[in-house]
Symmetry: C3
Subunit: 256 residues, 3 copies
Amino acid sequence: MPLIHQLRKEQPLVHCITNIVVANFQANGLLAIGASPVMADAIEEAKDIAKVADCSILNIGTLKQQTVDAMILSGNSARAAGKPVVLDPVGAGATPFRKACVLQILDEVDVTLLRCNVGELAAIADIPWNAKGVDAGEGQADVEGIAKIVALKYACLVAVSGEIDIVTDGHSTLSITGGHPMMTNITGTGCLLSSVVGAFLSIGSERPLEAAAAALAFYKRAGEEAAKVSHGPGDFAMNFLNALYTLDRKTKTYLV
Amino acid sequence: MPLIHQLRKEQPLVHCITNIVVANFQANGLLAIGASPVMADAIEEAKDIAKVADCSILNIGTLKQQTVDAMILSGNSARAAGKPVVLDPVGAGATPFRKACVLQILDEVDVTLLRCNVGELAAIADIPWNAKGVDAGEGQADVEGIAKIVALKYACLVAVSGEIDIVTDGHSTLSITGGHPMMTNITGTGCLLSSVVGAFLSIGSERPLEAAAAALAFYKRAGEEAAKVSHGPGDFAMNFLNALYTLDRKTKTYLV
Amino acid sequence: MPLIHQLRKEQPLVHCITNIVVANFQANGLLAIGASPVMADAIEEAKDIAKVADCSILNIGTLKQQTVDAMILSGNSARAAGKPVVLDPVGAGATPFRKACVLQILDEVDVTLLRCNVGELAAIADIPWNAKGVDAGEGQADVEGIAKIVALKYACLVAVSGEIDIVTDGHSTLSITGGHPMMTNITGTGCLLSSVVGAFLSIGSERPLEAAAAALAFYKRAGEEAAKVSHGPGDFAMNFLNALYTLDRKTKTYLV
């Protein structure tokens, strides 16, 4: 069975510690693919949620110090329970604070997969790069080479989003083409993608590299579908959620 | 005059202490029905807002300890001013922290109405239940019986959402059918509903049980209207806001 | 070259410290006009972001005391780097806490432009006014006269939104007509406008009064365009983002 069908059947519980900008879009996107989102970032409860959830997503978009502590507790709680943990190092190169938090999380949590853009990857790998806020920015780099080094250093999968996505375990690398430039014209597509990858990992834990690639490919196809019927970023966001819901469904009717 | 007409005329000020996931949807939904939302959760000001608002909504979706304190101050401030207070115990059964916070609020604030799903009700009533994150989950229970017990214990109305909604004061119970399954496929429909019930309560304070039932029925009808013209969860959310705005309006034209 | 064309070419980095209700809409609106948003409110990093951003937006919508501190650090960091700072005093008259925070920011930061509604202006100028939560409310006042006094007192531009927008430097005043009443029926149009004004100021820094007026006029036109094709507040919000993206673009096709 394709992973997306299995995901819709099992409806994995996806725990997100995320930012105030994309929390709504991320929850709606997870619901659209068929997962069950739970957003809980309080230090008093994050690790309890992580323990029972099927995967945990750590997103540093609007980070506070106390959230870093909750992330580390959650990440370790999820891993202790054998669940995958995805780290989204939003804007890792934007400030020293962000970079330090990302490196601390990578040091203290056995992260399963790092999902980033090339600017964030460069920051983590200490490669010079012109990042721009939380966007990828510009520079020249051997993306696959750097991703492999980071993957080996932290013993995790590394997925780098861009015109062509790649995902690597440090040895093998899969490339995924497709998608649409408009995916970068709305906020939160990267953040939601990290959650979607987490949901796929929770279903396809036996072959995580392939599960991550399947998530990236599914996501790019949803972007293509949405772009076909959109007139601007406003309806693109809406059509993208629709596409995440309808793509590869046997029945396309919305009346269940 | 139907309550919705009176509500649109009086435009009650609805104070919400809510979570980062649904704050935008909740504010837009309140504007759509004709209410005036004000989201203020800082402990320095929440009770001042609650005092002048027409009702206060306490939602524990992404709770922190300091927010619990703000909720208790606000709730008591609203009640001292004779305004209704609605508690939405989001995911009350998901963690010990959430359950403890909910019970603390119910103990320290004279809550007017508790709006929950069956999983949250079970947690509050200490009934075994397979909740799943913040979703209702699965189990067998005499929902009406438990709702009545909780209503009597805390001397409040209890509204339980589901395929059939019920609302009870512990003695009488009203049932509301309708709605659409897609209402559970977007995030925040429960949270927004709690605010809508609060807005109706502020208008129909003489007969609160009936006012709450009117809110629940109005909301289910909006869901049905939205589903008729939607192709997925993306446009359902949009059409749902439209339906909250247009339902039972004399003029359907958007140009005012 | 019209400012909007220059803005789309230069894609200014707009730093926002904002509230949980509108963060998503604000980020998407900034992306739609062609700017690059970065939302960062942690005290550990806000001033670092402000230093490299092209402008900073301080929005007190869901304020905490620690956020005020971050705002003051950020505002001073931005001004030291020669970048404009826009203050949005959301609901300044709603509580003593909000008003005190606004006055503190105005005292400690060399704000470039204050973007408010008439109720918020009245609060800042200590004029009696019936504000209603975060909405403009009702009253009688010489708006232009008060705006000029505030502009001179704080040596900043003051833009007041309403059926007719005005912007003044205390000496000259520009008025902008147009827009659509539905712009007040969704949450966040004022907050997003403040960010859009900031983006225009960062491009048109030589003539800030005119740049602000250009932003206000562009925004009102987008509202008109959106209203033409909308059926309610749900699709108005979507169409408004589309209009911010497509307005004054040479090519209207969405496939880039």
